[in-house]
């Protein structure tokens, strides 16, 4: 569908229970952005923040993004260039926040068991199909619900607000 092309990128593999405290540690909450980004996921993979490349994909186990409502958790991943998150399961608030800021996040049961670190992963955002062509892996992830796809097509909620403002101020 228009505006939501497939995503292809290199996988960074993480385990289960990756929390918002690991994605965006509370002690840096008001630090300058450059500083905050250095600490993203450092307690899981210290090399991640320094080596992640634009277009890379985070692949993880169950309950990814559990914890706080802090939107900085998906925002930091997006700011580091991460193109999408695919996990066995996603914590509720994280999955909403990711879409709200325009980051693709898909729950795909058992994805973390079959993808290897460094694999080239392809995601069809609308159908939720996740594949690794070179190893013949094709998995069906949960479809992103239509209201959230619509937010993604707008690039997140922030661009939507401008049109609401225009409506208000007419």
């Amino acid at each position: 569908m228009a505006g939501l092309p497939a995503i292809q990128g290199r996988a960074w593999l993480f385990g289960s229970g990756i929390s918002t405290d690991m994605l965006s540690p509370g002690q840096y909450v008001h630090h300058p952005m450059e500083e905050r980004l250095k600490h993203v996921l450092e307690s899981a993979r210290p090399e991640f923040a320094g080596e992640v490349k634009p277009g890379d994909i985070v692949v993880a186990g169950a309950n990814f993004g559990c914890g706080s409502s802090r939107e900085s958790a998906p925002q930091h991943l997006k700011d580091l260039g991460v193109a999408a998150v695919v996990a066995d399961s996603l914590a509720r608030i994280f999955s909403r926040n990711a879409i709200a800021i325009g980051l693709v996040a898909i729950a795909c049961p058992s994805i973390s068991e079959v993808v290897k670190d460094g694999d080239t992963v392809e995601i069809d955002v609308v159908s939720g199909i996740v594949s690794v062509a070179e190893r013949g892996i094709v998995l069906e992830g949960d479809r992103i619900p239509e209201p959230m796809l619509d937010v993604l097509r707008h690039g997140g909620i922030e661009p939507l607000l401008a049109s609401i403002a225009a409506e208000q101020n007419r």
């Binding site: 229970g17 929390s19 918002t20 405290d21 690991m22 540690p25 509370g26 002690q27 909450v29 008001h30 630090h31 300058p32 450092e42 307690s43 899981a44 169950a62 309950n63 559990c66 914890g67 706080s68 409502s69 802090r70 939107e71 399961s89 914590a91 509720r92 608030i93 909403r96 926040n97 709200a100 800021i101 619900p145 239509e146 209201p147 997140g156 909620i157 922030e158 939507l160 607000l161 401008a162 609401i164 403002a165 225009a166 208000q168 101020n169």
Partner: protein, 435 residues
């Protein structure tokens, strides 16, 4: 109420979301756009949310009277950046006409929302904090959202929701001595877990609920989010839980009497064990407070164990009351005095170190037991520190011993005025030499 046998009833989540969406009914799995009855933000996100609205050109909020702001996290501001963030928030709170603004010193947002009657049974409420599920203690369908979704909700008064599936938890009997609501919810972390409750609404019911105070219910609903739940609802007002002909995807029954004190061990809230399995683990810090367990009842339980005794040498006990009302009542009851005499540091109303911003962060290699809600790696300072979670009674007993201790093993009947003993960290019996 007279229901025809077999007629389908809605779950609490289905009923509240249907009403808020202006419909007769809704079913689990559907998506609805619903009018939100109340919104809350705290100091970490208020400036971000309101700035986003300002920059988008939004002139006015949909209904500022529904909005509450509480400053409770980075308070008093520990840095110039936090102070600047809060100054910006104050400016925008005034600009957008939000009257229900509670400044530094009033307390933790969720406690303040309940004390100030900013929520009511049957409402749909969102806030920029994951522990918003706390209001479920008063029959509210309440859940956490992020900054962008809050900006959208403030501008439009509505938000889309997936109607969650529901699970029922029937509580039977009463707690034994030394066992509290915190132990129940930690037990549920283990028994149900995020695999069982993710995205779902938990409804609590059964005769065991009658024994639970509002404080107990708030503790349980608060940590519902740790089990992954969207709502965690108790019966209140006209909101009845666990309806006979409603569709629950799972049902659990818990005998309160059979529970023992529980502790979550590093580095995940679902790693829950009986306190005896980790008793004797030496501690550097004990923290009593947070939106989970910083209420008067919690401080009272801790004081019942600490009275006339002194915490272990080499351990620090830090206490943050959940609100100014809690602090005032605790002072009137002599609880603050007991805590001070026991060697505690008692701070002002607020979140304290729970979210890892300040006021009691941990050094590498240090170990803390707290009454709060999360023990993820790096939650409270160094990623090389360890966090354990338990009840206020477990926290108090552990502070006396300098090591994780079962509160049932502290002889609560003989708390004298003599110090419990300045004991060496690592002795789970507090140096009393009991078998």
């Amino acid at each position: 109420m007279d229901n025809l046998a077999g007629s389908k009833q809605l779950t609490v989540a289905e009923e509240i979301l249907a009403r808020a969406a202006g419909r007769e009914e809704s079913s689990a799995g559907e998506y609805v756009v619903a009018r939100v009855d109340a919104m809350m933000m705290h100091d970490i996100f208020a400036a971000d949310v309101l700035s986003m609205l300002e920059q988008a050109g939004i002139q006015h909020l949909h209904d500022p009277s529904k909005v509450t702001v509480v400053f409770d996290h980075m308070i008093p501001p520990p840095s110039v950046s936090a102070a600047s963030h809060q100054a910006k928030a104050r400016e925008l709170i005034s600009h957008f006409g939000i009257d229900a603004f509670f400044e530094i010193g009033r307390g933790i947002c969720h406690q303040v929302m309940i004390e100030e009657h900013r929520v009511a049974p049957g409402q749909l409420v969102v806030a920029t904090d994951s522990h918003t599920t706390t209001y479920g203690a008063q029959g509210v369908a309440a859940t956490g959202i992020g900054s962008s979704e809050m900006a959208y909700t403030l501008a439009t008064g509505q938000l889309w929701f997936k109607v969650p599936e529901s699970i029922s938890v029937v509580l039977e009997g009463q707690f034994s001595y030394g066992v509290t609501a915190k132990d129940l919810v930690l037990y549920l972390m283990k028994a149900i877990g995020s695999a069982g409750a993710q995205y779902r609404s938990i409804e609590f019911g059964g005769e065991g609920v009658d024994q639970l105070s509002l404080a107990d219910r708030m503790t349980i609903s608060n940590m519902g989010v740790e089990i992954g739940a969207k709502f965690a609802v108790f019966p209140a007002g006209s909101v009845q839980t666990i309806r006979e002909n409603a569709g629950y995807v799972a049902s659990h029954t818990v005998s309160l009497r059979s529970l023992t004190p529980q502790v979550a061990v590093p580095h995940h809230v679902e790693n829950v064990v009986d306190v005896d399995e980790v008793a004797g683990t030496p501690l550097d810090q004990v923290f009593i407070g947070s939106c989970t367990n910083g209420r008067l009842e919690d401080l009272r339980q801790a004081a019942s164990i600490l009275e006339g005794r002194h915490i272990a040498k080499g351990l620090r006990l830090i206490v943050f009351p959940a609100s100014s009302h809690v602090m005032e009542a605790a002072a009137q009851e002599g609880i603050i005095e007991i805590l001070n005499e026991a060697g505690a540091y008692v701070g002002g109303p607020g979140c304290g170190p729970c979210f890892g911003g300040h006021l009691g962060l941990l050094a590498p290699g240090e170990r803390c037991l707290g009454t709060h809600n999360r023990n993820f790696r790096g939650r409270m300072g160094s990623a090389d520190a360890e966090i354990y979670l338990g009840s206020p009674m477990t926290a108090a007993a552990s502070a006396l011993a300098g090591a994780i201790s079962n509160p049932c093993q502290v002889d609560h009947m003989t708390s004298g005025r003599e110090p419990f003993g300045v004991v060496t960290a690592g002795d789970p019996l507090g140096g009393r030499g009991e078998a």
